[in-house]
């Protein structure tokens, strides 16, 4: 579906906690639709955005839709590069083990299951951001 063959580097930047506002859910909706466009896509989770990826979310008590399992389906949409800022995790008392496991099957490597979630330091994240053609902010 990419038009005129343009391929751009697109980054989705997620900085808000889930449920308090709708940005996390509606960001995910863009990512899923955007997957059909064959662009060079990655996701970044920083600041309170890291709470979007926690394991064990249960929204029964607040009567809202729990969309956290959708993150684990991102691999099927060929969204395979998901970056989480280490400094944001640490400041919030979280570590990688608190997050869901996110993986994809690598078609270039006999469909081997590989991690799509990468914990990166601020320096590395800054470098990744600086390389983008388009940044979507949520």
């Amino acid at each position: 579906m990419s038009e005129e063959g343009t391929i751009k580097k697109l980054m989705y930047v997620n900085r808000k906690a889930p449920y308090g506002t709708i940005y996390a859910l509606e960001s995910l909706e863009v990512v899923l639709i955007g997957a059909a466009f064959d662009q060079d896509v990655c996701l970044a989770f920083l600041d309170d955005g890291v709470f979007q990826l926690t394991e064990g979310q249960n929204t029964d008590g607040i009567g809202m839709k729990n969309f956290s399992k959708t993150y684990t389906a991102l691999g099927d949409y060929e969204v395979t590069r998901i970056y989480v800022e280490r400094e944001s995790l640490e400041a919030r008392g979280l570590s990688e083990t608190d997050l869901q496991e996110l993986t994809y099957e690598d078609e270039d490597d006999d469909w081997a299951e590989k991690p799509s979630l990468h914990i990166v330091g601020s320096d590395e994240l800054a470098q990744l951001m600086a390389e983008q053609d388009v940044v979507f902010s949520f």
């Binding site: 906690a17 889930p18 449920y19 308090g20 506002t21 709470f51 926690t54 607040i62 919030r92 608190d98």
Partner: protein, 100 residues
Amino acid sequence: MLHLINKSPFERNALDSCLRLAQDSHAVLLFEDAVVAAMDGSAQAECLQEAMNRLSVYVLGPDLEARGLPKERIVEGLEVIDYDRFVALTCEHDTTQSWL
């Protein structure tokens, strides 16, 4: 007075301002995105523990659960409550102030 905080202290200044102006023996309820302030070992934990020396601090369980934050991981001494107790707290205190 019961102070209601619904914003993450990592993102906004609401909790800071509340703690600056709340009187001793007032109560504070963390709910919605503010529950992330409750995590033990976070950069905000010390500030919360200090506040608990002079204020009663509560956190809304349903909002903790929604964000995948286990009760066993929150700052010691914080009381986890449900909506019924939230209502009861507003009754126990003459005035409720929301720090929006």
